[in-house]
């Protein structure tokens, strides 16, 4: 069996919420040994649940979305928080694969000592706490580097490690507002209060960018022996993703406005109602060729030949009417059916898929996107899997998401070679070990 690219690389990680866990998940998928350092004495909110033991009435029930800004992210297995809610929480478990978990109390000197021993035998340390948290623990790059001179140390607070607002409390929702993404995402006819986007692109962009940063630093260390510190501000990973709007402003001093589902040049461009309850298909046409394909697909209706739709500019100007006519056709068909009919004629189209559609989707299934995972506390389910294919070193979910402290033994005894007595003594004081929150 060929070795995965990052086999032999050990990453100590303290990621919270979404972005940080996503970053180390990608590195774990590539074969790195990712060790999460958690603590039974400090509950990181959202990461393993809103509360360690949520009252049943805030646990969402079947078929409903939950409330609050974390929305549908917060599902417990079978809607039961159970004895160990933190091990049954969808948000943590979705990105938890290929990671190990140990518990160390970093607020006490003995815990810090164990942590430094772990750093000594590791290649990378990363954390995604708010700016200043690691500093308070005495775990800055400078102190970590004393223990392990060639360590790669990545911090990824929302606004970075420097700057006048670095202490602001920021989640993905706030970062996407501050970066200008919320501004660009809404129905043109409604104001922002109804946008209610639960999708925080900033977590996506910063998680993947952080993984890329660590890989760059690993390559540099491999060839020079030098580690380094990476200061990643999550907002600065999102702004480049909005390049068109930023450049329009810096070039033309123009503030771009949200277009909903429309496009500056393509028509038709949007989602269209299909047969069934709340079923939709996305269609976009970027050329005359594709327009002709669309006309063929819907049986060359006479309206398509009319003056108002005769060229790309006319279609753009008359898109309200055009959209209604297209919807008359799509609404007679199933959303997948529309995709197949249009794709056969070379028109970009695809169903707006809910989760059930995704689990049944021919493409995702054919590429083996879903993987069966058995988890001690959560049971056996199909999990979404790898983000790309690497045939010679196939990646997979090699380990289920870790339960809290599941790998205490491995980390303290095998990795650090601590004696039974030492472990027992530190465990007695709750400095290391444990698998149940005491808070």
């Amino acid at each position: 069996m060929p070795r995965l690219p990052l086999e032999g690389i050990r990453i100590v990680a303290m990621p919270v919420v979404l972005a940080g866990p996503f970053a180390v998940m990608l590195l774990g998928d590539l074969g790195a040994e990712v060790i999460l350092v958690e603590s039974i004495l400090h509950f990181p909110p959202i990461t393993r649940g809103a509360l360690p033991r949520p009252p049943q009435f805030i646990v969402p029930t079947t078929g409903e979305t939950s409330g609050g800004a974390t929305g549908g992210l917060t599902t417990y297995v079978n809607h039961e928080a159970g004895e160990r809610p933190w091990d049954r929480f969808s948000l943590f478990n979705a990105g938890g694969r290929n990671k190990l978990s140990c518990c160390i109390d970093l607020t006490r000197p003995e815990g810090l000592d164990v942590f430094r021993r772990l750093i000594k035998v590791s290649d990378v340390f990363m954390e995604s706490y708010a700016a200043g948290v690691l500093e308070k623990l005495g775990l800055t790059y400078d102190t970590i580097r004393e223990v392990k001179p060639d360590i790669i140390y990545l911090s990824m607070p929302g606004l970075g490690g420097t700057g006048c607002h670095k202490d602001a409390t920021m989640f993905g929702a706030q970062l996407q507002a501050l970066a200008g993404h919320t501004w660009l995402t809404r129905y043109p006819d409604l104001d922002y209060t109804t946008t209610q986007s639960q999708l925080f692109h900033c977590d996506a962009s910063s998680g993947a960018t952080a993984a890329f940063g660590i890989l760059c630093a690993l390559h540099y260390r491999n060839r020079t022996g030098k580690g380094q510190y990476i200061d990643l501000a999550q907002i600065e990973t999102l702004i480049p993703h909005l390049g068109e709007a930023v450049m329009d402003y810096t070039m033309n001093q123009r503030v771009q406005h949200p277009m909903g589902n429309r496009h500056p040049s393509m028509t038709p461009h949007g989602v269209y109602r299909c047969r069934g309850e709340d079923r939709w298909v996305a269609i976009s046409v970027s050329s005359d060729e594709e327009w002709e394909g669309l006309c063929r697909a819907i049986g060359n209706p006479t309206w398509a030949k009319e003056e108002r739709f005769c060229d790309a500019l006319s279609r753009w100007r008359n898109q309200d009417e055009l959209d209604r006519l297209i919807e008359d056709w799509t609404s007679q068909h199933d959303h997948y059916e529309v995709m197949h009919i249009l794709q056969r004629e070379g028109v970009p189209a695809g169903p707006v898929m809910d989760q059930r559609d995704a689990y049944h989707d021919a493409q995702l299934i054919s590429r083996g996107f879903f993987e069966v995972v058995s988890h001690r506390e959560a049971g056996t389910h199909l999990y979404p899997g790898m983000l790309w294919k690497m045939p010679k070193t196939p990646m997979s979910i090699r380990r289920p998401p870790p339960c809290l402290g599941e790998h205490n033994d491995y980390v303290f005894r095998d990795v650090l070679g601590m004696s039974e007595d030492e472990v027992a003594e530190l465990e007695k004081e709750n400095i290391i070990g444990g698998d149940t929150y005491l808070v």
Binding site: R3, L6, T75, S90, L91, G95, H165, D167, A168, G172, A177, L178, H181, T193, Q198, L199, H201, D203, A208, F212, G213, L215, A217, N222, G227, Y229, D231, A233, E236, T237, P240, G243, E244, A245, M247, T250, M251, N252, Q253, R254, Q256, M259, G260, H269, V271, W280, M339, G346, P348, V352, Q355, R356, A358, R367, P384, L387, W388, K389, P391, T393
Partner: protein, 405 residues
């Protein structure tokens, strides 16, 4: 010149539009020598995408092209001609990585598929970025930003109930695919360099959405765990809230703010809003939704008295989470980003001196260098073909006459 993280890496870049170029931009911004290969006379279709400087369509004035191709070198090459294919292979012999974003099957038709290239360069790492991947029933399907978000992403639950699903603003799905492709490329490259496993990485834009954490991935597991189908919420948001604390976008004096609350922040709210009434016993049960109306009356009237920057400032001081809904103009003027010297000015021979988004992370040992502008079409033909491939000046003229470069 200070060494950069990827200074020893050479990339041949056969990508266009947004996703592929963003992947190779990340490599180039951190020091890799990226040689962008474009079609003679036309170049990357992104050169024809707006916005344009001064709204004048010009292949050297497209904002999106300028942004996506900083630090790259540009050559032109006709890959449909046999001579062009031979020259491409010569280039690959000198490269560590090839990244391409043609439709699946095109590279094979050109005789430039991974197997052929790997023969001439055994340690080659190649990344292919496509809409749905190199295999599967949708392999040859067409897609755009909105189609990818509909299929791979969480469009179904973006927007509000009773209305159509809503696309995220901009082309973020394409950018995210490029970012993930950069991770895949560097990961596989490290395998090729240090473990001698060269291979062909297959990135499907659909899967980069479905597998990205804030998107499909967590929602998909929610479905597996409890059959939860997320959908678009009905306004007002109060109908789906579990506690009366603010969550979502609210109007304030001069715009909108995005607010998020955790239950244990309630004492901070009492301090931040400075409304004595909130100290009363009845307000201490956050889950009593009957108090929503009363709380909102206080909250909305407080917001009406404060600008979005004031809300941000007060919340920042009280360790609460609020941010102004910023326009691109606000973003460029943001004091914090200025303090970090995030935005960068780059001089371009045709577009002139412009402000660009900066690099997305700072490396202490290998800081980003002064940035080079995006290449003009064929700008580096002479340099690359002469220096690397050893062609003479009169060879280049002949190749140009024959439409190869």
């Amino acid at each position: 010149m200070v060494e950069q993280a990827l200074s020893d890496v050479m990339v041949v870049d056969l990508t266009w539009h947004i996703a592929g170029p963003y992947c190779t931009k990340l490599l180039a911004d951190y020091g890799a020598e990226v040689i962008k290969v474009e079609k003679p006379g036309q170049g990357d279709p992104a050169r024809r995408m707006g916005p344009f400087l001064g709204d004048i369509p010009d292949p050297e004035k497209s904002g999106v092209f300028l942004h996506l191709n900083t630090n790259k070198k540009g050559i032109t090459l006709n890959l449909k001609s046999a001579t062009g294919q031979k020259m491409f292979k010569d280039l690959v012999r000198n490269a560590d990585i090839v990244v391409e974003s043609f439709r699946p099957g095109v590279m094979a038709r050109l005789g430039l598929d991974y197997e052929s290239l790997n023969e001439i360069k055994p340690q080659l790492m190649m990344t292919s970025i496509s809409n749905f991947g190199q295999t599967g029933p949708y392999r040859d399907f067409k897609a755009t930003e909105i189609v990818e978000y509909a299929m791979g992403g969480e469009m179904y639950s973006t927007g509000i109930a009773g209305r159509e699903p809503l696309k995220l603003g901009g082309n973020v799905v394409q950018y995210q695919a490029g970012t993930v492709a950069a991770v895949a490329t560097m990961g596989a490259f490290i395998g090729a360099r240090y473990q001698d496993i060269s291979q062909h990485v297959d990135v499907s834009i659909m899967e980069t959405q479905a597998g990205t954490i804030d998107r499909r991935m967590v929602f998909l597991l929610g479905y597996a765990y409890g059959g939860v189908l997320t959908n678009r919420w009905p306004p007002p948001r109060e109908s789906v809230k579990m506690m009366f604390l603010p969550a979502g976008v609210y109007p304030c004096k001069d715009g909108f703010v995005n607010v998020l609350s955790l239950p244990h922040w309630w004492p901070r709210y009492i301090e931040a809003l400075g409304v004595p009434e909130l100290r009363e016993d009845r307000f201490q049960n956050l889950y009593n939704m009957e108090l929503t109306e009363e709380f909102d009356a206080i909250w909305y009237s407080w917001l009406a008295d404060h600008t979005k920057d004031e809300v941000f400032e007060i919340f920042r001081r009280h360790q609460l989470a609020a941010a102004p809904v910023s326009t691109p103009m606000d973003v460029l003027a943001n004091a914090h980003l200025k303090d970090r010297q995030y935005f960068q000015e780059i001089e371009h021979p045709v577009a002139g001196r412009l402000v660009y988004p900066g690099v997305p992370f700072n490396m202490s040992e290998t800081p980003a260098q002064d940035r080079r502008p995006a290449p003009l079409l064929g700008e580096h033909n002479e340099e690359i073909y002469s220096k690397i491939l050893g062609y003479k000046e009169d060879d280049l003229i002949r190749l140009k006459e024959r439409g190869v470069i």
